[in-house]
Amino acid sequence: MSSEELALHRQLGLTDGELAQIEATLGRGPNGTELAMYSVMWSEHCSYKSSKIHLRTLPTAGPAVLVGPGQDAGAVDVGDGIAVVFKIESHSHPSAIEPYQGAATGVGGIVRDIVSMGARPVALLDPLLFGPLAEERNRWLFAGVIAGIGGYGNCIGVPTVGGEIRFADAHTADPTVNVMCVGIADAADLITAQSRTAQAGSLMVLYGATTGRDGIGGVSVLASATLEDGAEGSRPSVQIGDPFAEKLLIEASLELVAGGSLEGLQDLGGAGITCAVSESATRAGMGASLDLDAVPLREPGMVPFEILTSESQERMLAIVHPSKLDEVRSVCGRWGLTTAVIGELTPGGTLTVRSGGAVVAEVAASSLADEGPVYDRPAEPPTRSVVSGEDPTFVPFEKDLTEAVLTVLTAPNVASKRWAFEQYDRVVQGNTIAGPDSDAAIVRVAGTLKGLAVSTDSKSRFGRLDPFLGAVHAVAESARNVAVTGATPIAITNCLNFGNPERPEVMWELTESIRGIRDACLAFETPVTGGNVSLYNESGGSAIWPTPVIGMLGLLEDYRLRVPSSFPRPGLAIYLVGETFAELGGSEFAEAVLGVVAGKPPALDLSRERGLHRFLIAAAGGAVLASAHDCGDGGLVIALLEAAIGGGHGFAVALAGDLPSHVALFSESASRAVVSVDPGDEEALVRLAAEHGVPVARLGETGGPRALVEGLVDVPVDELRDAWETAIPRLLGET
């Protein structure tokens, strides 16, 4: 092996050890084309090499699970032969370089994942974290990402119905851009490795856009390394999206699925043709013969490794029996899409790639797709001092409480995100029962009374202080957000956003977070059906906060019984469900008012949390609740104000107990919700709460133009709404 070749594998992001493993697999040294194929397939992004052994500890089975992790997306059975397919992915690295296209192509990629399972995409949610908007570059990233999500999502006819938006210093260099898609299929039409039997001689048909030089090395160069100075030079590795082509691809693909024309379907995303072909062949237990001369190219002179690793968007690979080829060509032709037979499945497991008549690569397909390196990287808790800083819970607070309430209400994490959400089409398809303003978005399953309740949540501020607890809170909050609408949490997908796993401190954050997700998912009986891991989110040795993002799917059997989050009318009794403890560690109050991220995050008792969910679901099913809203960032007072602002009705409440006033208002104790009920339903509420062992306390009533917390806060709701709605535009310099 010459030194020049050694340099090549390193340039491609492979280690010396990985090169040795490739040589052992092949029984010879790889040529440059083969090396490029391994480099993309064995990248962190495609192979999950640092996280795989830990992900295996997550619960993935359950009575509703149809498809678990390892395929393009997970799927659950929601009854009546309906399958819900869902998954979350990250497009953080490209978005940090080119926010509009980075975010746009993230949407395109996740939508194709759903389509490749044979499902029609029905909802998108975009959980996002940026650095503070006070910095100009962060404003550019924020505006660009939002516009990119809208620019793509709005053109493909899939509503964007939610997704939280948060801000933290640690995400300044590396914004977190995740996107979740939910799709619906007839359970019988699901395309999975089990449901479709491809055979030797079946054709590999590439359809959709042509293949160009864009996005080469996207997964290895961009997504699996940290972004350092000069990262703008990576811009050619960012793909360019064409939502119009995607829309055609969706319609043509679903028509092919419905017509039973396919033996398999795979989208082309990270690692392009190499990934799609090797995974399709491996799933079928076969090899493949691939002819690069048959791939329609966007530009002349492309060499084999470019064609094999291009991440040009809006392409799909279908596995088609030769007898069905004409059908496939005719459907694609009707939608104006080109098709090309680029190869076929072959007996044995070898993937043979030809170009200009010569064999340019010959490797075992499964060695690319399934047999990449697996690392058990060292994990060590950090020695940093932040955790041991003074717990804000015990810092006396003697300033004006009304001012503090306004500060928290207008803090970017809490303030209205209308500026962003209005740029998303949330109504197309006509099934959006509740959109981004709701704790969980609710999308009706067309033609039924079923409603899918979906929420995406992260608690990275808690995670910064205690990654295990942060992950537990993230799962709990996502389940609670679903349960306050009356829906039953069913299953999750997750996106694990972390720094460089080669640093033991980051690895510890990752393993602690996975442990937290596992414990919470076991307690809630919400299995993990899949997800994505996004590592190397750090710059200059400074990582993002540990940010596991949970995408929770819940089910309402009758969407007409869904509970809104805002007070719908005056004259309702307001109750706090759950208990408030002295817990200001890692709270919004501590960050926004005291300027610290410190202390111990609130405790979380999983069985109490589960009890709260069960109570909320039972109360909604019995039509007892007029509204229910999660107590999250900013605590009880913010939950009350949000319910008042959303409904346009004030309230008058009194807080009992002996907590200091600011703690009672702002504590972020877990497992709580603010509900309102008609006076006639109060007895039923109290009885149900007792049955479920959930504490409830009557706080007061809705009504009037003011938000009144006896002796502490008294402000007109209109004034609060104005402050809440204008906070983000103000930070963007627009008002």
């Binding site: 516009a147 809208g150 620019g151 709005n154 053109c155 493909i156 006819g157 064409d242 939502p243 119009f244 082509a245 829309k247 055609l248 939608w335 104006g336 959400f421 209005e422 740029q423 998303y424 089409d425 949330r426 109504v427 197309v428 398809q429 006509g430 099934n431 959006t432 029962i433 009706r444 969407y559 007409r560």
Partner: protein, 239 residues
């Protein structure tokens, strides 16, 4: 309409149409027979009314609606409109009708330069259109908008004609019918949200009435518009 054969309302699907299924469903919900039409067919399948739905036909990469007007289906659509048949263009469909010369003016990017999706109030300006026959001028209705290029503009001469002939069908307004700048979500000239041709059988509007017929998913301001359209289409059936 009870007992009678429901009117057939065609909805054209162009490549890139997004709200075609929604328009078909709205027609069914309001009691019409929904008939899918395909951009490449020169056949209107004997419909009594035509809807050009919202979306991004052909990707709208040149100019919104600029390519769709040349689609084969547009030839019979234009002929149908010239014979007095009711034709409704929603959002991208409105843009196509302007490009096809069936309605005056054009749409440019929103004043904010951003896409905007929100429920808005419209003041009905005339009952002399296929979409507002059941309504009274001055009434307000709530309907969602969702567009990035919805700012209607016209030359001074066109604008003079439009206003003089009373061709404005809807203006963006407050809930109580006050037409002001605060109520204007995209900067449209004179708050114009929808216009008609002089005969009133061709109407285009930026808001989406097909997303305002089902109370479970939003406001219901689209119901009287579809009811009016079906009445006009019905008259065509029986007359």
């Amino acid at each position: 309409m009870s007992g009678a054969v429901p009117p057939r309302v065609g909805v054209v699907t162009f490549p890139g149409s997004l709200d075609d299924r929604d328009a078909l469903r709205a027609v069914e919900q309001m009691g019409g027979e929904a008939v899918p039409l395909w951009h490449a067919d020169r056949d209107l399948r004997a419909v009594d009314a035509v809807i050009l739905p919202g979306g991004f036909s052909y990707g709208d990469y040149l100019r919104c609606g600029a390519i769709a007007r040349f689609a084969p289906v547009m030839e019979p659509v234009v002929a149908f409109a010239e014979r007095g048949g009711p034709v409704l263009g929603i959002c991208n469909g409105f843009q196509i009708l302007c490009e096809a010369g069936l309605l005056p003016g054009a749409m440019i990017r929103n004043r904010s330069l951003r896409f905007v999706c929100r429920d808005v109030w419209l003041r009905v300006e005339t009952a002399q259109s296929c979409l507002t026959g059941d309504l009274t001028p001055g009434e307000t209705i709530e309907i969602p908008i969702k567009h990035g290029e919805g700012q209607w503009i016209a030359t001074a001469e066109q604008l003079g004609d439009v206003e003089a002939q009373g061709l404005v069908v809807f203006r963006y307004a407050s809930r109580t019918g006050i037409v002001d700048d605060v109520s204007n979500p995209n900067g449209a000239t004179n708050n114009v949200a929808g216009i008609r041709n002089p005969a009133g059988n061709v109407v285009g509007l930026m808001p989406h009435p097909e997303h305002a017929v089902d109370p479970d998913v939003g406001p219901t301001g689209g119901q009287p518009l579809f009811a009016s359209l079906l009445h006009v289409a019905m008259a065509g059936v029986t007359g």
